[in-house]
């Protein structure tokens, strides 16, 4: 149900993943994940190695942070991050890489894994793995099935339905076998027999490669999915892959599923088989005006500006730079902010592309309702939200909105539906929190 078809613009789909050189300094926020921020375990002046733990996760839902470079800690201070807020970060002046002990840098693929489920979860936790699809939920938590629940399927998200982004696509083409080993390891941790890799059918090469490789991994299969945004949203992916609907306000495990991104599967492979902490990720840098758009393997903490330089520099007529995809990404106001674990793309828009349409009257065409993947009524929710009618917002299930932006994309009147609904969501969220505490 629902969904929109924005122009795909996957201009970097055929660009190989390029290793981005280590920048002069990196800024590593201690909160790059959903949950409690990590606490620094290094101090100003310390020398750290690449892959060394620099901040320890602070609770059940939290993740460790490792140094992505070798060098000297020059500052631990509040620094602007991609959210637009200042957050505590560790700033490291880099030197030549010296890798922390135990990290296997050999390019050979390690297939066998003797660890049991608990040991896998421990290792994924140790290596600071979080969901790389964008939500950055700590992965080890998702690999532990809560008591009383049972997982039937691991669903692997290779959909990448955001226009422009090709990081997951390239990773599947170039690191397919590693991803599959990662999937097998995750299956073992979860105790599931079956894994389904969901890929939109606009990536036939990835479907072919992953399908061929999956043949030699027991219980893993590829499902080609209809091209529509947001096919890669967790609940929509589960619906498309196995036909089950996750109830409102519940987690996928409610319908026997755990969903991980292909990038996360790769990170799990590296963590478990190579002792490699999550210190780098693939980032797509794209935009119609970019000189050399591409996909880059980037150390966490690298400034966005360095990434844009590598892609040919910021064009003269740039009007907007987006952290993430064009549908759900956040516009940046400072290009000095670092790439973090959740950065899947950097998108550069021209001045022309940067401005919204003029807002005119709602003509009640109902398209927002037709495209809403959650079956909500954005025209109604935005109006209720604007009028501060929070109780009705809650009744009309405003909290089910995942902010995919389909409604606002399709609105012929250019109305700021999602802006208003975000305000409503934050008010209703506060009311719900106050009620439960």
């Amino acid at each position: 149900m629902g969904g929109v078809h924005p122009p795909e613009n996957k201009i970097t789909a055929s660009r190989h993943i390029e290793e981005l050189p280590v920048p002069g300094t990196v800024t590593i926020p201690i909160s790059q994940h959903l949950g409690v921020p990590a606490s620094p375990v290094v101090a100003k002046g310390d020398r750290v190695l690449t892959g060394q733990l620099i901040a320890r996760g602070g609770g059940f839902i939290s993740a460790h942070i490792h140094s992505s470079v070798t060098g000297k800690v020059v500052k631990i201070d509040d620094m602007m991050d991609s959210s637009g807020y200042r957050r505590k970060s560790v700033v490291i002046q880099t030197e030549a890489d010296e890798w922390a002990e135990g990290i296997d840098l050999d390019a050979g693929i390690v297939r066998g894994c003797d660890l049991d489920g608990a040991a896998i979860v421990r290792k994924v936790n140790d290596m600071g793995i979080v969901g790389l699809g964008g939500a950055t939920f700590p992965s080890h938590v998702k690999l532990m099935v809560p008591k009383g629940k049972k997982a039937d399927y691991l669903i692997v998200n290779g959909v990448e339905c955001e226009p422009y982004l090709t990081a997951d696509h390239r990773l599947m083409l170039e690191k397919g076998e590693e991803i599959l080993v990662g999937i097998s390891i995750q299956m073992k941790a979860l105790g599931v027999e079956q894994a389904i890799i969901g890929i939109e059918s606009n990536k036939p090469d990835a479907i072919e490669v992953m399908g061929r490789l999956a043949a030699s991994h027991a219980g893993v299969r590829v499902e080609a999915l209809e091209v529509k945004y947001p096919q890669g949203a967790e609940k929509q992916l589960i619906k498309a892959a196995i036909g089950r609907e996750v109830p409102s306000g519940k987690l996928p495990i409610e319908v026997g599923c755990v969903v991980h991104n292909v990038g996360t599967a790769f990170a799990v492979y590296e963590a478990v088989q190579k002792n490699m902490p999550l210190i780098r990720r693939v980032v797509t840098v794209a935009g119609k005006s970019m000189n050399k758009p591409g996909n880059f393997m980037v150390r966490i903490g690298t400034p966005v500006s360095a990434l844009i330089e590598a892609a040919g520099g910021l064009p003269e007529d740039t009007g907007k730079v987006i952290n993430g995809g064009p549908m759900m990404g956040k516009a940046l106001n400072d290009l000095g902010v670092p790439v973090t674990k959740g950065t899947s793309g950097i998108l550069v828009f021209t001045e022309m592309e940067s401005h919204r349409k003029p807002v005119v009257a709602c003509i009640r065409c109902g398209r927002c309702t037709t495209v809403c993947p959650m079956g909500l009524e954005p025209y109604l929710l935005s109006a209720l939200s604007e009028k501060n009618r929070n109780e009705e917002c809650e009744q009309e299930r405003i909290m089910d909105c995942m902010e995919c932006g389909s409604c606002m994309y399709i609105c012929p009147s250019g109305r700021p539906l999602l802006d208003l609904m975000r305000v409503g969501k934050s008010r209703v969220g506060k009311i719900i929190r106050e009620r439960t505490h």
Binding site: M1, K239, G243, A331, L347, F349, E353, R397
Partner: protein, 332 residues
């Protein structure tokens, strides 16, 4: 680069706009317009131009001097109201009455409620019903179609096909006897019949409807539900007594049904938001239309049916919510 723009996601928007939708509707009306101009001649052209100019002028005057808000007369919506109002009156209607109808349509039907998007009732139908009640004689003398003519007065008038049937069986004749006085169905289909300017050619209207469907200006729900329920309703009575009730095909291609089902009932502003609601709305329109046609005082009921169902839209929107994701919990 000077300053980076920061705004909330999404950062992409469709290239569709309100005026593109409106002008798409206008474009789709061209075939029906050409057929009508052919059969009703210069008179129909003058009525249409008068209605369009008057509707846009009233919208301009009200926005500029009463509301003192932004001017939106070129968004295409007043243009459509003008065309549809003209389509809903006889070609012989005096032009000053067309102007009065336009004032009712735009003033009462639309601007009173705050303009585009706020009106509960279809403005063109508000104008039509206003004229119908004010000038019942002029609004029910239907010029008969002829090859293109520039004659403006003394056109030959006659009853509509629906009136021929209704009066005929009302006087005790059987459908078979009435049939002799009716144009052939092929003629009804192409529009060679008496009636309001734009309602006559089911074929040309269908063509426009298909265009709107393909361009995704409308969805199938309302027209299919409306026409489908008319067929079912008419079919049931036809099966019960075929000597009194005429067949469903006749109901489909005569009167204002096609114009109503494709253009008036599908008006986005005054129809329900969800697909489920649109189906209920369409069925409601069909049932009320047929109740009026078969049992009411008027031979035609499309305008009243749509206006009556317009009034139910808020309650339909409240009751017919889209299916929420995760509403029916399935465990497989």
């Amino acid at each position: 680069m000077s300053v980076l723009t920061v705004s909330g996601s999404p950062h992409l928007q469709t290239d569709q706009s309100v005026s593109k939708i409106m002008y798409g509707v206008v474009f789709s009306l061209i075939p029906a317009m050409l057929v009508s101009f052919y059969f009703f001649g210069l008179a129909a052209i003058l009525v249409t131009i008068t209605a369009v100019v008057a509707c846009m002028a009233f919208e301009f005057l009200i926005q500029k001097y009463l509301i003192r808000g932004p001017l939106t007369i070129f968004d295409g919506s007043a243009l459509i109201t003008g065309i549809l109002l003209a389509f809903n009156v006889p070609a012989s209607l005096p032009l000053w009455m067309v102007v009065v109808g336009s004032a009712a349509a735009i003033g009462m039907g639309k601007m009173t409620f705050g303009g585009l998007g706020k009106n509960p009732f279809n403005p063109a139908l508000v104008g039509r019903v206003f004229l119908m009640i004010s000038f019942p004689v002029e609004m029910t003398s239907w010029p008969l179609p002829s090859a293109f003519s520039t004659k403006l007065t003394d056109a030959v008038t006659g009853p509509t096909a629906l009136a021929i049937w209704k009066d005929g069986v009302g006087q005790g004749n059987t459908v078979d006897q009435v049939m002799a006085d009716l144009p052939e169905y092929a003629q009804l289909l192409i529009g060679n019949m008496g009636g309001s300017i734009g309602e006559i050619s089911a074929l040309a209207l269908l063509l426009g409807g298909v265009y709107m469907l393909v361009r995704k200006i409308i969805t199938w729900h309302i027209p299919v539900a409306y026409l489908g329920s008319v067929v079912v309703f008419a079919g049931v009575f036809w099966l019960i007594d075929p000597t009194y009730y005429i067949d469903p095909l006749f109901h489909l291609i005569s009167g204002g049904l096609m114009l109503g089902a494709l253009y008036m009932a599908t008006d986005m502003v005054t129809s329900p938001m969800s697909a489920r609601g649109q189906i209920v709305f369409g069925i409601g329109c069909g049932v009320v239309t047929m109740v009026i046609r078969l049992f009411g005082a008027y031979p035609e009921g499309v305008s009243f049916a749509i206006l009556i169902m317009n009034a139910f839209v808020p309650i339909i929107n409240k009751g017919m919510k889209p299916k929420r994701f995760g509403e029916e919990v399935k465990h497989g």
